[in-house]
Symmetry: C2
Subunit: 189 residues, 2 copies
DNA sequence: AAGCCTTGTGCAACAAGTTGCAAAAAACGT
DNA sequence: ACGTTTTTTGCAACTTGTTGCACAAGGCTT
């Protein structure tokens, strides 16, 4: 329900074409609100029709032709409206945790490898975030940057948490392996 | 793509009817894989048709009549297969973070209240998780319980993170309020 | 200039998740 | 015994997200 607002935000930061937006979603904004180019194009169409954004004039717009969008006043109003309302945090949807629960009933085959794999991924992501913080936010000055930094620090905190938890989990699982209970495979029916 | 596996897991832990499942999703499993009753009923239908689960025999099953399901061997096999594969962590989708970014371009009206509200919600959730840990996991013995506890500890860690981050964010926003930059409302176009 | 790669836009079909409602059975009050 | 509420199941329509592909323009290569 908030992809349009993500796009409005991105476009206010800088008018862009669909593909540019996609790229930027792959970098900064997509870190906490991902979207494919398809979603973006579709949504750009809707936003344009709704009169919230408009395409910057170009010679003769046609299919493979770049098309830049900018936010209209109505769009800014809408974003302001949205941003001053309430958004309930929606519950976690995490396949790895689900998998642990499954492992509890069906055996932990391959669990160790999977935990390790995730650990690597999260370490990498954490490093990337920290790189961005070092590079882009020296001494955060204006409110805008301070807010953006806050968002980045949420990312860092989350990745840090996962790294720690995964390390804990790996230790725990390793500890189970030799000892009691089932030997990796489920006690079969 | 993993709701069916969430259901299989739940049903292996204990055969249930659709509504019971919904209740259990609202408590334990839904903490990291939420689902509405509609999704669950629809999925139960599919799983039954696919021969992974079956309805326990009852007199004459009809509409408002309770129907219990149990997992068939094929279902266990499928869950085992799924649980030994890879699941990539999908990126965060967090409306609050998006909102912060929006606030950076459109002003932080009402931001403080919203942060406070979330803080309350996360504190409450954290307390609930800790209650469960205290109640259900004294000295975790068998591997199954240790895995389930690990999942719970992920929940605790996540909520703890959010609480900390929100406190940090509130301090930061409060610090902006008096000082420089924009006065809560955006510098209007 | 013919062929090919990249950039950019977009359709169409599908899968997953949400919302609103309806309808059968059972429980309950009076 | 009758109407009301609660439990339980489910349909239908909609929104959101994903996947695979197609098509246009322009640059590059030989």
């Amino acid at each position: 329900m908030s992809l349009p607002h993500a796009i409005l935000t991105a476009l206010l930061e800088k008018p862009s074409s669909g593909l540019e937006l996609t790229r930027r979603f792959d970098r900064s904004i997509g870190y906490f609100w991902s979207a494919t180019h398809q979603q973006i194009y579709r949504e750009l169409g809707k936003l344009e029709q709704a009169g919230l954004i408009r395409a910057l004039p170009s010679d003769q717009p046609s299919r493979g032709q770049k098309k830049e969008f900018e936010v209209l006043p109505a769009g800014r109003t809408e974003l302001t409206r949205w941003a001053s309302g309430e958004q309930d945090p929606k519950p976690i949807r995490d396949a790895l945790l689900l998998r642990l629960r499954a492992a509890a009933v069906v055996g932990r085959t391959g669990l160790d490898e999977e935990l390790r794999r995730h650990l690597t991924l999260h370490r990498r992501q954490l490093a990337e975030y920290q790189g961005i913080e070092d590079r882009d936010f020296g001494a955060a000055a204006d409110p805008e940057d301070r807010l953006r930094r806050l968002v980045l620090r949420a990312g860092i905190g989350l990745e840090t948490f996962w790294v720690q938890w995964l390390e804990e989990a790996l230790a725990e699982v390793a500890d189970m392996e030799g000892a009691p209970g089932e030997p990796g495979a489920p006690r079969q029916v």
